[in-house]
Symmetry: C2
Subunit: 232 residues, 2 copies
């Protein structure tokens, strides 16, 4: 489970963007796309920050890691900034991903519209269940898990998505890594161990709801001495 620390600046260009910033850049990108669609040509950090739901100072600091793409006294050129962020995020190319586990969630992911416009393309679907293999989901034929190596190699896929039950996750991760995948998005409710050099991100649906339930409990709970929290 590599963490990929990088904020130390290298020799020449100011490389190495903090993880927290990297996680927000796609949000800025989405806001800039929306502005482009509205025909807005330029904007200030305050406007953009509002649309992205962050503090303006944070936005400016984030952008400063990429370079100086704004103009003092004026703001940012929407199209120029959008391109710079997209380039930094690697969106000048399309990243092909393979989804493993074509149950309800895997099917939903393969049909998800939001990927295509963001440099992500679902290139292959894989399942271990023979009954599912050969069927068509979202225009793609589901392949057997046994063919994973060939599929990853043929299309030089480097990103895999695990959408299997929890007890299959580790096994699937092992096969993805063996096939050459070096980044994994794990939706299964289980930890997966991977060798150094492989990135794993985890999205856990029930954990998110449990966190909400915790806060909910505290709201309806004992103390209402803090009526509604002044947030001005």
């Amino acid at each position: 489970m590599t963490i990929l620390r990088s904020p130390r600046l290298a020799d020449g260009t100011a490389r190495g963007i903090p993880d927290a910033t990297v996680a927000r850049l796609p949000v800025y990108l989405r806001a800039l796309n929306a502005l482009t669609e509205q025909g807005v040509g330029s904007c200030s950090s305050i406007e953009l920050a509002e649309k992205a739901g962050v503090n303006p100072a944070k936005l400016r600091k984030d952008l400063s890691y990429l370079g100086s793409y704004g103009t003092r006294g004026v703001g940012y050129d929407v199209e120029y900034l959008r391109y710079q962020i997209a380039r930094e995020m690697g969106q000048t190319q399309d990243w092909e991903v393979v989804i493993v586990g074509i149950g309800n969630l895997g099917s939903a992911l393969s049909a998800y519209q939001g990927f295509s416009t963001r440099g992500i393309r679902v290139a292959a679907l894989v399942d271990a269940d023979p009954q599912r293999v050969g069927s068509t989901v979202s225009g793609l034929t589901v392949s057997s898990l046994d063919d994973l190596d060939a599929i990853v190699a043929d299309r030089s896929i480097s990103i895999g998505v695990i959408a299997t039950p929890g007890d299959a996750a580790q096994q699937v991760a092992d096969r993805l890594v063996a096939a050459g995948v070096t980044s994994i998005l794990n939706f299964a409710p289980a930890l997966v161990q991977v060798p150094d050099g492989v990135d794993v991100r985890k999205v856990d649906l029930s954990v998110e709801l449990q966190i909400l339930a915790y806060h909910e409990q505290r709201k309806t709970g004992t103390d209402s001495k803090e009526p509604k929290v002044s947030n001005a």
Copy 2:
């Protein structure tokens, strides 16, 4: 968008658990459940931390916010600790949620097995599309968005899930809040604004993949001067 700061300790009991800790408690819970199933009666912080994928010191500090439920020189009683965390997380009751937007993702969520064992129950499905209203998904009849108020009131639902396209998200959030929902899990690729007192968590599928793509780009990119990163 309330942030719910609470780490300041109140009067009597040590209330107020840091957000980062709250986010990890469900993970510990899952690990403890696995241990119970394996018939393990007690464990050390090192063992549990390993199963949860965190640093042992972090685990102990997290648990210390709840109280002193371990025994020095011995470890933690699995069942006892599991109960204490579950109680703190509000899992002694079932939290009913309504899912809005029964497309691919909404259907997948309503069929998700992992919720039931974690104090979450999908109690109602709602969609704006008349063609979907009345159909049965995962054993539940899809209701009209117009009936949201009655549904939320009848079952005293306090948690809503938005699984609509991005451009419908704000409108749905408004209606959820108006109906009385005070916690929202938003899967739509859009920011939603809510009044104080309402919690929103956001899960963005394409953002997760874009973050992976960024790291992937840097791996295959320029510098291979850091061959595989010693992680010992």
